[in-house]
């Protein structure tokens, strides 16, 4: 009996995780990619596959099936900035998507950390201590920096002053009856009942 329950639980985990990821990626396509700047070399659609892999891994790890309920979450939200401290083990792609989901007030320019350093600091001796290289600078600060160096100014980031998608991880419509019927069918098929 325990083995049947465990196998059903695993099937539910797989099936529901895939459904959640599918719905999240649909929202990503409809509510984030449609807003991006096609000319932006760091546009979020470039990181679509990376974000999908992140969701798959993160959600499948967090789905818990017990006898009376199913719970799930996005375990690694610290990589997207949903915690007090940013999880250092993140990437530029996740940082960009995390910032878009959180929303940002004001006008910013997306630059690399090295560019920011060249603008305002001569000290390059210290280690960055992270993998991320992208960085947002306030428009006023950026304009001041490029004016000092005589650089051609870049455009303001398309997602500046964007209220974000605060319910990105909260809005699901899971049809559990459908999942369970599908799973019973798979189970019957697998066990030739």
């Amino acid at each position: 009996m325990f083995k049947i329950q465990e196998e059903l639980s695993n099937l539910i985990k797989t099936d529901i995780s895939a459904d959640i990821v599918l719905q999240l990626m649909q929202r990503f396509d409809e509510e984030i990619i449609t807003l991006e700047d096609p000319e932006d070399p760091m546009k979020p659609s470039l990181f679509r596959d990376e974000f999908e892999s992140f969701l798959k891994e993160s959600i499948s790890k967090s789905v818990v099936v017990s006898t009376d309920k199913i719970t799930f979450g996005v375990g690694d939200t610290g990589k997207l900035g949903f915690e007090r401290e940013l999880d250092e083990n993140t990437t530029d792609g996740l940082r960009i998507i995390g910032t878009i989901i959180q929303g940002i007030m004001g006008e910013y320019v997306l630059v690399t950390v090295d560019m920011a350093r060249k603008m305002f600091y001569s000290d390059n001796s210290f280690d960055l201590g992270r993998t991320g290289r992208a960085y947002l600078m306030q428009k006023e600060e950026y304009n001041q920096g490029v004016a000092n160096l005589g650089w051609e100014p870049k455009n303001v980031w398309r997602f500046s002053n964007f209220p974000g998608v605060p319910d990105f991880f909260d809005k699901f419509e899971l049809n559990l009856d459908e999942h369970i019927n599908k799973l019973i069918g798979s189970w019957n098929e697998k066990n030739k009942i």
């Binding site: 915690e83 959180q102 950390v113 600060e141």
Partner: protein, 268 residues
């Protein structure tokens, strides 16, 4: 007025005047005559304040109620003095609570200074696209809604998702405001006001003397549920070891409080 608008206003009123009632500051400053804003029937005096954030900035303003659920204009939150420090009776002037101005009908009395209480936290009802207020700021975002029928009988439950976006000056202030907002909605409800005769403050910033406190007939209060608070760090602004941002940044210390706001309507 549409129901969603009145719910938005009811929540805004509750947050600004009740939940954040302890975040009120007071100061006494000189009043300066503003000839360019005056006419032969109104003499306008503006408060000269160097306080940051400005008491007259968007989402703040002077306190127009002495207590959160008063229905009459304040009596003790704004006091105007003449050059001899004598109190000038409130019957001689009206107050623009939004822009921090005192308006007299004639020049027989000359005011010199004003004492006022003001809202330290800017409460705005949308993401501020054009003018970014100085922090602390609370942006109230009422998002999606869906209506659910009762299992028995007529009527419906109307839930809406609400987000408080908090922008603070430092982490301690962020945590303080976040916890205050969380406690203000956790296991709580607020009146679902109808605003039949308009909101408490009129379009010109003065107190609306026609304002009446009425709630919707056949409808419940606004009940809050599923409250979640969390800090936010913006990944693209977070650079450890060295703070690259030279200017103050409104996004540095942020958090969010999410919850569901619902009321029940009787079936008619």
């Amino acid at each position: 007025m549409k129901r969603i608008k009145s719910e938005d206003l009811s929540l805004h009123h509750y947050v600004k005047n009740y939940i954040l009632r302890d975040f009120v500051e007071a100061e006494t400053v000189p009043l300066q005559y503003k000839p360019e804003e005056s006419s032969t029937t109104s003499y306008v005096y503006g408060a000269v304040s160097s306080t940051i954030p400005s008491p007259a900035s968007r989402g703040r303003g002077w306190c127009y109620l002495d207590n959160a659920f008063d229905t009459t204009e304040q009596q003790n939150s704004v006091i105007v003095y003449d050059a001899y420090n004598a109190v000038i009776s409130g019957s001689n002037y009206i107050i623009d609570y939004i822009d921090g101005r005192v308006i007299f009908g004639n020049q027989s009395i000359i005011p010199a200074s004003v004492y006022y209480k003001w809202h330290y936290i800017a409460v705005v009802d949308e993401w501020p696209i054009t003018e970014i207020p100085d922090p602390p700021v609370v942006a109230i975002d009422i998002a999606s809604f869906s209506k659910e029928g009762f299992q028995l009988g007529g009527g419906k439950r109307v839930p809406r998702m609400v987000y408080f976006h908090i922008f603070a000056n430092d982490s301690a202030e962020r945590d303080d405001i976040t916890e205050t907002l969380y406690d203000g909605v956790y296991l709580k409800c607020c009146p679902n006001q109808e605003f039949n005769n308009g909101t408490v403050i009129d379009w010109n910033g003065t107190f609306n003397i026609d304002y009446t406190y009425t709630t919707y007939s056949g409808s419940s209060e606004l009940k809050f549920d599923n409250v979640v608070a969390r800090s936010i760090v913006l990944p693209l602004l977070a650079i450890p070891d060295r703070d690259l941002s030279q200017l103050s940044d409104v996004n540095k210390y942020r958090s969010r409080v999410n919850f569901e706001m619902a009321h029940w309507d009787e079936g008619f």
